[in-house]
C-alpha cells in the first residue's frame, strides 16, 4: 500500500488509458463510478478497487476516506455532473488537489469556479496541437515523443536530495550536456515556489529541496538522477 491515493471519478473506454497509467504509479488507484455499466466495465478491465455510489450524495462522498494530499480526478462523461462533483468535493475536502477534464471554455470557467486546481480542456489542447503541427512540426514531434510512454525520451522532475553533489552550485557553472540531459527549468525554493525556465536569464543556485525539470533519454535521466544522489 502507498501513502497517497488517486480517486478517479468516472470511468469509460476513453479513460482506460489514464487509469492504466495511474495504476503504474506509486499511488493507490480507486475508481469511483455512479452507474452499473461503468462499474462492470472497470471490473472487466481488471481494476480491483472500484466503488459504485451515488455521487450526488455528500454523505457517501464523505465516507470515501479522502486525505488532504490525495488526488481527485473528475472525468465524468456528463459535464454537468463533473462540475457538480467538483463543487461537492471541493466543499467537503477543501485541501485536496482536484483535477478535472473539460470540453469547452464555459465548462472550464465553471470548473475553475467550482474549485478545480487544474483543468484540462480536451479541445483546447487538441487545437493547440493542430496549430503546432502546422507551424512547428519538429517541436510537436518531440513533444509527442516526450509524452508517449513507449518512447525513450521523457520529461522528468527531480528533487535535489540532501547531500547531493549539486547543492550550492550555480546553475551556470554546471555542465548538463556532459550528462546528455537538458535542464528546462526549476523551482528555486530559496527564491519562490514559482517555476523558472532556464532561459529566463535569472542566476539561480541549486539547493537541497529544489525541483529540476529535465528532458533526455530515460537512461540518461536515470543516470543523472543517480549522479546527483536522488
Amino acid at each position: 500500500m502507498f501513502t497517497r491515493n488517486a480517486f478517479l471519478f468516472g470511468y469509460n473506454k476513453k479513460r482506460r488509458f489514464i487509469a492504466r497509467e495511474l495504476e503504474k504509479e506509486p499511488l493507490n488507484l480507486i475508481l469511483v463510478v455512479d452507474d452499473e455499466e461503468s462499474y462492470n466495465q472497470a471490473k472487466e478491465d481488471g481494476f480491483r478497487e472500484v466503488i459504485f455510489i451515488d455521487l450526488t450524495d455528500d454523505e457517501l462522498l464523505e465516507n470515501l476516506k479522502i486525505n488532504d494530499d490525495d488526488y481527485l480526478v473528475c472525468v465524468m462523461s456528463n459535464h454537468y455532473m463533473n462540475v457538480f462533483l467538483t463543487l461537492s468535493l471541493h466543499s467537503i475536502f477543501p485541501k485536496a488537489i482536484i483535477l478535472a477534464l473539460s470540453d469547452s471554455p464555459h465548462t472550464t470557467q465553471k470548473l475553475k469556479m467550482a474549485g478545480a486546481s487544474r483543468i484540462i480542456d480536451l479541445y483546447q489542447v487538441s487545437a493547440n496541437r493542430i496549430h503546432n503541427m502546422l507551424h512547428k512540426p519538429v517541436a510537436t514531434k518531440l513533444i509527442e515523443r516526450l509524452f508517449s510512454p513507449e518512447e525513450e525520451f521523457s520529461f522528468k522532475e527531480i528533487e535535489i536530495p540532501k547531500g547531493s553533489s549539486l547543492d550550492h552550485i550555480m546553475v551556470d557553472d554546471f555542465d548538463f550536456s556532459k550528462h546528455n540531459v537538458i535542464l528546462i527549468g526549476m523551482i528555486d525554493k530559496r527564491l519562490s515556489h514559482q517555476f523558472i525556465f532556464s532561459t529566463s536569464g535569472l542566476e539561480n543556485r541549486f539547493d537541497v529541496g529544489d525541483t529540476l525539470v529535465c528532458i533526455g533519454c530515460n537512461e540518461d535521466l536515470e543516470r543523472f538522477q543517480a549522479f546527483i544522489g536522488a
Binding site: 488509458f17 495511474l22 480526478v73 477534464l101 489542447v125 503541427m133 509524452f147
Partner: protein, 519 residues
C-alpha cells in the same frame, strides 16, 4: 493528297507541345476563372473598353487628336479582333477531333472521312459565333469602319463586352436565368396585353384622337401606360379609351410587382450560393490555405485561438445547415457543403496552392472518408485527421492522413502528467500553449541561411538566453537531441530552440536569409 496532308497536319498539331501549350494558355486567359493571371487580362480589357467609350463621348463636342483616333481605330480594334479570333480558336479543337475519328476509323477498318470531323468543328465554331456574347464581340469591332459614321454607336457594344470581364454581372444574369420560365411568361403576358390594348385604343381613337395616327402610336402609348411611366404626350380622349387605360394601368402595376418579386425571390434563393462561391474563389487566390471540415467544439476552439493567424486563409465546410449559420454568426468563413463529396473538394485550387485539410468532424468514419476523398483529389493536400482511438488513428494513417490528432489521448496524457509530475506539467503547458515566457520553436536553415556553416557554439545561444534542444538533420530527417557545441549547421537542418518569445524572434531576425528551397 490534300486530305492526307491535312490529316498529317492534324497529327502534327496534336503532338506539338508548343501549339497545345499556347492554346491552353490562351484558353486560360480567356475562359479559366481560376487562372491566376486572368484577372490582369480582364482588367486590361476593361480599361480598353472604358477608354474607347470615353473617346466616343468626348468626340461628340470636341475634336480629338490624331493619335487618339489612331489608338481607338487600330490598337483597340486590333486587340478586340485578336480576342474575337482567339475565342473562336479555343472554342473547340479540330486536331483532336480528327485524330479521334481517324483512330476510330482505323479501329473499325473503315475509310476515314476528313470532312466529318471538320464539319463537326465548323458547326461548333459557327454556333459559338451565333451566340449573343460572340455577336457582341463582333459588333464591338465594327466601329472601326469609319466611312459609316452610324457604326460609331456600336462602340456601346464595347460596354456590353464588359459583361464578359465582370463576374458580378454574369452572376446577376445567371440568377435571372434560373427564373427563365417566370420571366418569359411575364414577357409574353406583357406583349399580349400591350398589343391587345394598343389595337383597342387604335380602333377606338384613331379617328377622334389627333395624337394617334398609326398602330405604332397606339402600341407606344400602351407600353408607356402599362409600364406606369405615362409621358402624357398621348392620352385617351374617348370614354372607351379611358376604360382601356384604367385596365392596363391596373395590370401594369400588378405585373411590375410580380416581376420585382420574381427577381427578389430568385436572388434570396441564390444569395447563399453566390456568397459561398465567392468565398471559394477568394480562397483559391491564396498561395496556401486551410480547409476545415466540420464545425464542432474542436474547430471552434481552434479558430478562437488561432483565427487571427490564418486571417482569410481558411474555410469551414459543414454539412449541417444550423452549424453553418452558427459559424457565420460567430464571424467565421463557412460554407454549407459535404466535404466527403469529390466535387466539393475538387473545386479548390489544389494544384497551385499549398492546401491543408483538417478533418475534425465528430465522426471517425466521416473523417476517414474525408481523408480518402482529399487524397484521391491530390496527394499534395496535407491532411490532419481527428480520431477517437489508436485503432481509428491507424486506419486514418492508412487512408493517407499526414498527421492524426486524438483529443482524448492528448487530454489523458496531460491529465496523467498533471497528477504525476505537476511541476513539469506547468512547464510543458506553458511551452505547449506558446506562452511568451517559454516557447519551443524551430528555425529552418533554409529560411535562415546565415546560420549555415556555423557551429552551435558560434551561434552564441546562451548569450541570447536560448536553449538548443536539438535539430532535425537535413540528411535523413532524424532528430538529434542535445547536439554537441561543435556541430556545424547544414543547409536544410531545422534547429529546435527553447526560450522567451523575444529571444527567439531576435535570433530569427539575425539569421534570416532565404535560400534555395529544395523540392
Amino acid at each position: 493528297m490534300l486530305k492526307k496532308l491535312l490529316t498529317q497536319f492534324a497529327f502534327f498539331l496534336h503532338t506539338s507541345k508548343f501549339y497545345n501549350r499556347s492554346k491552353k494558355r490562351a484558353s486560360d486567359f480567356l475562359l479559366n476563372s481560376d487562372y491566376l493571371y486572368k484577372k490582369y487580362f480582364d482588367i486590361f480589357m476593361i480599361l480598353l473598353i472604358i477608354s474607347s467609350v470615353a473617346i466616343l463621348v468626348y468626340e461628340v463636342k470636341n475634336p480629338v487628336p490624331v493619335w487618339v483616333d489612331f489608338f481607338d481605330i487600330y490598337l483597340v480594334t486590333t486587340i478586340f479582333s485578336l480576342e474575337y479570333l482567339a475565342r473562336i480558336w479555343v472554342h473547340n479543337c479540330w486536331h483532336s477531333e480528327v485524330v479521334r475519328e481517324y483512330g476510330d476509323a482505323k479501329f473499325l477498318n473503315k475509310k476515314f472521312n476528313l470532312w466529318s470531323p471538320t464539319k463537326k468543328i465548323l458547326r461548333g465554331k459557327l454556333s459559338y459565333m451565333a451566340s449573343p456574347t460572340a455577336i457582341i464581340d463582333l459588333l464591338a469591332i465594327l466601329p472601326a469602319y469609319r466611312p459609316l459614321r452610324v457604326l460609331r454607336i456600336f462602340v456601346l457594344f464595347r460596354v456590353f463586352k464588359l459583361l464578359r470581364y465582370t463576374k458580378s454581372i454574369n452572376q446577376f444574369l445567371g440568377v435571372l436565368g434560373s427564373k427563365k420560365f417566370e420571366l418569359y411568361t411575364l414577357l409574353f403576358l406583357l406583349v399580349f396585353i400591350t398589343v391587345t390594348a394598343g389595337i383597342a385604343i387604335y380602333v377606338f381613337e384613331e379617328k377622334s384622337n389627333d395624337n394617334i395616327n398609326s398602330l405604332f402610336d397606339a402600341l407606344y402609348w400602351a407600353l408607356i401606360t402599362i409600364s406606369t411611366v405615362g409621358y402624357g404626350d398621348i392620352s385617351p380622349v374617348t370614354s372607351e379609351g379611358r376604360v382601356v387605360s384604367m385596365l392596363i394601368i391596373i395590370t401594369g402595376i400588378a405585373m411590375i410587382s410580380f416581376v420585382t418579386s420574381v427577381i427578389v425571390s430568385s436572388f434570396s434563393e441564390k444569395l447563399t450560393e453566390l456568397k459561398e462561391n465567392r468565398l471559394v474563389e477568394e480562397i483559391n487566390k491564396e498561395e496556401d490555405f486551410m480547409i476545415i471540415c466540420g464545425y464542432g467544439q474542436m474547430t471552434r476552439m481552434f479558430l478562437r485561438h488561432y483565427e487571427h493567424e490564418y486571417a482569410k486563409r481558411y474555410i469551414i465546410i459543414e454539412k449541417d445547415k444550423e452549424r453553418v449559420d452558427e459559424a457565420i454568426k460567430e464571424g467565421y468563413r463557412a460554407i454549407h457543403e459535404d466535404a466527403s463529396r469529390y466535387d466539393v473538394i475538387a473545386k479548390f485550387n489544389t494544384d497551385h496552392a499549398q492546401v491543408t485539410l483538417l478533418a475534425l468532424t465528430n465522426s471517425d468514419v466521416a473523417n476517414i472518408y474525408i481523408t480518402l476523398n482529399a487524397k484521391a483529389i491530390s496527394k499534395n493536400i496535407r491532411v490532419i485527421s481527428r480520431s477517437s482511438s489508436e485503432r481509428i488513428a491507424k486506419k486514418s494513417r492508412l487512408a493517407g492522413a499526414d498527421s492524426v490528432v486524438m483529443p482524448s489521448l492528448i487530454a489523458n496524457r496531460m491529465l496523467f502528467a498533471a497528477i504525476t509530475q505537476p511541476v513539469m506539467y506547468k512547464a510543458v503547458y506553458a511551452i505547449l500553449t506558446g506562452q511568451h515566457l517559454a516557447q519551443l520553436d524551430e528555425v529552418n536553415s533554409v529560411y535562415h541561411q546565415k546560420m549555415v556553416g556555423k557551429s552551435i557554439k558560434e551561434l552564441r545561444l546562451k548569450e541570447q538566453k536560448l536553449l538548443p534542444i536539438g535539430y532535425e538533420s537535413a540528411n535523413n530527417r532524424a532528430f538529434i537531441f542535445n547536439p554537441s557545441l561543435d556541430y556545424k549547421i547544414e543547409e536544410g537542418d531545422i534547429l529546435l530552440l527553447m526560450g522567451r518569445h523575444v529571444s527567439i524572434e531576435h535570433f530569427k531576425k539575425t539569421y534570416e536569409e532565404i535560400g534555395y528551397v529544395h523540392a
